[in-house]
């Protein structure tokens, strides 16, 4: 028996909005190879709405961006990127489930060790997830075009490092702020004062 999955209207609309945000930012940053906000947005989606929502955002984004892409489209690579991207959403959901702390952002908390500790944790998660994503997609791309996987990994190193370092910075600097902002607007109804 399959487990019964229930999705609320709020989750569906949130998934749609985050997917639109991912697609829009991807096309905006298309000139910057492997530097994208998408991974952060997918992770944040998973963190705020659960793994299912995060995975959905990742897959839906790639279904659009991976098909309508000026650099070309291949089904096998599209499947690999969908799987790789959904990892961000899955881990985002698991991070929230297992209590990865995101302190509220304010002029007071930003001076606290707790805030920066949490930011570093987010940065490290972003880095490791990106490493796994790049490793996986480079191997699949190599096999697809018929070059040895090790060669594909080594030739992809400059792009992989750019992806990993940029994601570390995005996760480190923006994840806490973004999670707090979305929580405030979407779940608590905006600023009270």
């Amino acid at each position: 028996m399959w487990p019964k999955i229930t999705i609320s209207a709020r989750e569906i609309s949130f998934t749609g909005v985050m997917t639109a945000l991912c697609i829009g930012s991807n096309y905006l940053m298309i000139g910057l190879l492997n530097v994208k906000f998408m991974d952060l947005f997918v992770f944040v989606s998973g963190y705020l709405m659960g793994s299912l929502s995060g995975v959905s955002v990742g897959i839906l984004t790639w279904l659009v961006y991976g098909t309508l892409n000026p650099y070309g489209s291949r089904l096998d690579i599209l499947v690999a990127t969908c799987i790789g991207e959904s990892l961000y959403g899955l881990v985002g959901g698991l991070s929230a489930k297992f209590g990865l702390d995101v302190p509220p952002v304010s002029s007071m908390t930003i001076k606290e060790k707790r805030f920066w500790g949490s930011s570093i944790k987010m940065g490290l998660i972003g880095f490791l997830l990106t490493f796994i994503y790049d490793l996986f997609t480079n191997i699949v791309s190599g096999i697809t075009v018929g070059i040895p996987p090790l060669f594909a990994i080594i030739t992809g190193i400059p792009f992989a490092v750019a992806h990993e370092v940029s994601n570390f910075l995005f996760f480190f600097l923006l994840s806490n702020v973004l999670i707090n902002a979305i929580q405030k607007v979407a779940f608590r109804g905006g600023e009270t004062s």
Partner: protein, 152 residues
């Protein structure tokens, strides 16, 4: 428990640094191998050319048409005739003093008009008449020779 978690995150941070440094190491190692291979290929290519030299050849057809064949690659030890045959079709006869060129690219055979060759004298800055037969004069690196269709 909190201390343990702290060390866990420090370990994760170190793993990330390890990934970045290993990536750079692997990448630059491969780059090093690539450039070593390119260097060796260039050396092999250059060794091929050690048996050759560059000379400049002028062909003056006597009707105002002058053709320069600068940096013509010829084998070391090549004579003027060999070098000229690389850049143009040459007809010649062999006499008791050596080869005598009759036609270059079909031009020749007019009454009292002959193909004569000259070598550029860089010291006096003028053309010196070829001292011996064109198939007996061995060229040197960078030398400039001319064939002039001259009427007497």
């Amino acid at each position: 428990m909190t201390e343990k978690r702290g060390w866990l995150w420090i370990s994760i941070g170190l793993i990330c640094l390890l990934i970045v440094s290993s990536s750079f190491g692997a990448y630059y190692y491969m780059e090093c191998l690539k450039y070593k291979q390119l260097y060796n290929e260039s050396l092999t290519e250059l060794q091929k050319y050690s048996k050759y030299m560059l000379v400049n050849i002028l062909i003056d057809f006597g009707n105002g048409t002058k053709e320069w064949h600068n940096n013509t690659l010829v084998a070391r030890g090549a004579d003027v005739l060999n070098a000229t045959r690389i850049v143009a079709e040459v007809n010649y006869i062999r006499g008791q003093y050596g080869a005598f060129v009759t036609h270059i690219r079909g031009v020749g055979g007019d009454p009292n008009t002959y193909w004569l060759w000259y070598v550029w004298n860089s010291t006096s800055a003028r053309w010196d008449f070829g001292p011996i037969a064109c198939d007996a004069y061995v060229l040197h690196e960078g030398e400039v020779v001319a064939w002039i269709y001259s009427k007497f």
